[in-house]
Amino acid sequence: MPENLKHIIESLLFVSETPLTMDHLKGILEGEETAAIRTAINVLMAEYEQRDGGFVLKQVAGGYQFRTQGRYNEWIKRLIRPRAPRLSKAALETLAIIAYNQPIIRSDIEHIRGVDSGGVIRMLMERKLIRVLGRKEIPGRPLIYATTKHFLEVFELKDLKDLPTPKEIEELSQSQLEEPPDAEDQKPISESPIKPLSA
């Protein structure tokens, strides 16, 4: 392995506008062993981690990419204006349903959320966070949705397996459910359910 392999990879990562995958790197670095490349990347990642500067090397969407440290986001926002507004709670929930249950059809999404989700789905499509995989061969031939590679990039996930496992989420929601019952439970049920809506 050339001694400067690490620096070659570093230069490639610096120039690349999208996460560089191992396959892509191997194609460029003809003849290099995967293991050697991986070692070099790991060394780089550790170096940037240790330096703890303005940016670090991250593993994201099946590749590697330089990303700024979260703590400087307010400064960066003085330089650039994010094109897309933040995702609403409804959008995040819908996205989570799709991410964990993909491929999934709209009626199944709506079954979990309990409300019409057409608008949210369309918005997620526009933001390229989800895409149509095809149509399900049942009456009405509904569209099947799945998340995109862009979704992984936005949420800084290595791959779909990088999502917290259903078990981890289960534990989280369990702990929510097991909160000790308090006097709230005894509240008369009729206490105007209308109030929060009439705003």
Partner: protein, 231 residues
């Protein structure tokens, strides 16, 4: 109606009531649903359908709970019918919260080529989004080009809108983008043109495609544009 519909899931009253979701007091919840429905009726809100469904599901569950279980027959708690989606919803809710806390690209973390506008002196892209009227104008001018005299022959097999959508999808998968004129090759019949147009509208509605118009070179002479026009 300026109502936050997205916050109003069908299971809202159950969550609000802070009941043990493994032991849902069906009659209490049903009463609450009916109260909601009554209120909605007064407000003349038409999305009460979900709530009617939920209220009737609850009533159904209640009636099943009242029926004696046949001996030897193992019936699960009828309330599981609503407990299960509710649990699933709670799981998703915490999953969504965890997603929101990640290092979001364009919010917390940034890359060298951020999906953003540089604040200073950046013009918008060379394509602009167009509205329905421009689309209809373009369609009209293509219809004008179609040779007159061709009558729509109802007995002949025609390409359906669905078929056209899948053809266009394949075309776009191969080509990434396609111009309006390319889609309406000369010599097409009126009916085909209309089918194509309907397919485009349907695909735009489903957000499968984005319709954009190149700003004419004469109007905005950005170097970028000339390069685009040359290719």
């Amino acid at each position: 109606m300026p109502l936050m519909m997205d916050n109003l899931t069908g299971a809202q009253p159950i969550k609000k009531a802070e009941v043990d979701i493994y032991d849902i007091p069906i009659s209490q919840i049903t009463a609450q649903y009916l109260e909601y429905l009554e209120w909605m009726k007064e407000m003349n809100i038409d999305f009460a359908g979900d709530f009617v469904l939920m209220a009737s599901t609850l009533a159904h569950i209640k009636s099943r709970m009242l029926l004696p279980v046949q001996e030897g027959e193992e019936e699960e708690d009828p309330r599981l019918e609503i407990t299960r989606p509710l649990l699933e919803y709670l799981r998703i809710k915490s999953a969504a919260e965890q997603l929101a806390e990640r290092n979001l690209l364009g919010e917390k973390t940034f890359t060298r080529k951020p999906d953003t506008d540089i604040l200073e002196g950046m013009e918008d892209d060379q394509v602009i989004r167009i509205g329905l009227f421009e689309l209809i104008d373009a369609f009209q001018s293509i219809l004008d080009k179609v040779t007159p005299g061709h009558r729509v022959d109802l007995t002949r097999d025609r390409v359906s809108v669905q078929e056209r959508i899948s053809q266009l999808t394949e075309l776009l998968e191969a080509k990434e983008s396609v111009t309006f004129d390319e889609l309406f090759a000369d010599g097409q019949e009126r009916a085909d043109v209309i089918v194509t147009f309907l397919a485009i509208l349907e695909m735009a509605k489903l957000s499968l495609i984005r319709i954009a118009q190149h700003v004419p070179v004469e109007l905005k002479k950005l170097p970028k544009l000339r390069r685009m026009a040359g290719t």
